[in-house]
Amino acid sequence: MTADFLLTLAQAIVNGLLTGMVYGLMALGLSVIFGVMRIVNFAHGEMMVVGMYLAWMGFEYLQVSPMLSLPVIAAIFFAAGYVLQRGLISPFIGRPEHQQFLLLLAVAILLVNASLAIAGPDSRGVQMESQFDSYELGPLVFDAVRLHAALAAIAIALLLWLFFTRTRTGKSIRAAADNNLAALVVGLDVRRLYAVTFGVGAACVGAAGALMITIIPVSPFLAVEYTLLAFVIVIVGGLGSMTGALLGGLLIGVSEAVAGLLLQPSLKSMFSFGLLILVLLLRPQGLLGKGPQ
């Protein structure tokens, strides 16, 4: 345990925390959708990849930085999520899980292969000046892009919290999540609320995609990995819990970074899945969850 090693470890943890915030934002989308509708979005990683591609295209063809295209991408994702829920997913709420799974699997296949057909199989990244910038805090180095992405993710999570606690629509969605029948009885338009929820969840993952493209390049093959990653994060944090998703994102971000440093980078996902198995067995409701219903 030399001072050198401790510094490297601290640096890995810092990087893990920053990436973990973006993971958390991605998982937040999954958690919101499940928490309200009890639908597991098996197309989550695919949506993430589409968000990354949109940000890449904005940068490549229109020279817009991903940070600036983020609100536009989030808006597109909100609209797409709203329509998808209204047109396709709505009849499947309350249906057996394998039918929901098959439906979202079909959506996932369509999204990832549409990306493949449009952008090709090569991995695509953005090259920005700021990727070489960094901030220093004592001996620790904060990559500028990672720090900006993490701060943006925190800001979006805060906005989401305000939406769910301060606005009428947000409160109605929580009411519908708590008690669907009672929400219908008091006259809430639950079908519209569900569509808004799916839109919000999609906007989260779209925004996370726009942030992620500044950190790593995108390829269609990342989609399955991100879907699994989002599952791990929300289960560890607590499926349906918003703070849980963010906490889970940070935990997995750090555990990946530390596993990559101490073991081999290719072993990092084994670490995450080991953590997932432990949490499922010892605390299936997740660290901050209210428990499976």
């Binding site: 079909a106 996932a108 296949i109 369509l110 057909a117 996902s269 067995l281």
Partner: protein, 332 residues
Amino acid sequence: MSFIRRLAGNAPPRILWSLGVLLALLLLAPALLGKYWLSVLILILYFAYVGQAWNILMGFAGQLSLGHALYAGLGGYIAAGLYFHYGIGPWAGLFAAVAVAGVAGAIVGYLGFRFSLAGVYFALLTIAFAEFTRVAFDHWGWAGGSGGLFLKVEHATDIVNLRGGPVLFYYLILALAAGAFILCRALLRSRLGQYWLAIREDAEAAQAVGVPVLRCKMIAIVISAALTSLAGVWNAFYYNNLFPETAFAMGRSIEITLAPIIGGLGTLFGPIVGAVVLTGLGEAFTDLGDVLRIPGIKQIFYGLALLVIVAYRPAGVWPWLADKLGLKERQP
């Protein structure tokens, strides 16, 4: 004969006759079909077989596993590894494969069912175990690591070591698929099968009337895992190569679930009908993809087809087809 009569039960004679003709045709198929169509038929039988195995756990006992690649992968790796390293033939190796996959199924099942994980939570546990094993095999030298494990390709037919051409593997998978069909029919008509259906419909009520729920679920996952591992052994010796990235992939697990879901969950003919539909669509879209030359276009059509089927036939194709053809079994 009495065994056959018991199995047939209340099935309409038309179904029994059709099955007999189908079996005769399948037995003659290698003489009637060219290389390409035989390979398509092999794929259909493979998916019908693994679908039947998966259906025992999900369709009968109601437990959603999205990690069945774990059992197929373990089976394939163990039989192929024993043959590759020690020259132990697959007929002996498959006992080890079945045993290891059965134990793996028992571990996943015990942990999941003991802690009453159900639905999505159990499904995620099965995914986690498959993914965990995939990364472990990536780093395990004995199994070839991420570089893969290769069996020597030999053209002379050698039934003892399962070396040979497509016809040999065709008859093997036909035997497996037919065997699994008969086994599932027998299971469904047994007390255990009725317990499974009770658990699927309402586990708490089943428990209340004295069904040993945990034991029944355990038996379901062990049988399902063991049968799936045989498909893995077959796969390894048919294709002669194994990579953790494909053998334990999430995609492989999903593939296994599709035929029974599309065909009709919990039905005996569902996995078979689903395998025919999906393999047929897959082949047609491959040809279409070759014409259009757009990457991913095959999967786009495939995804659209899945979407249409799940939207219009959510309970699967077979129940609807059986109704149309007047092949519904009378309730005993």
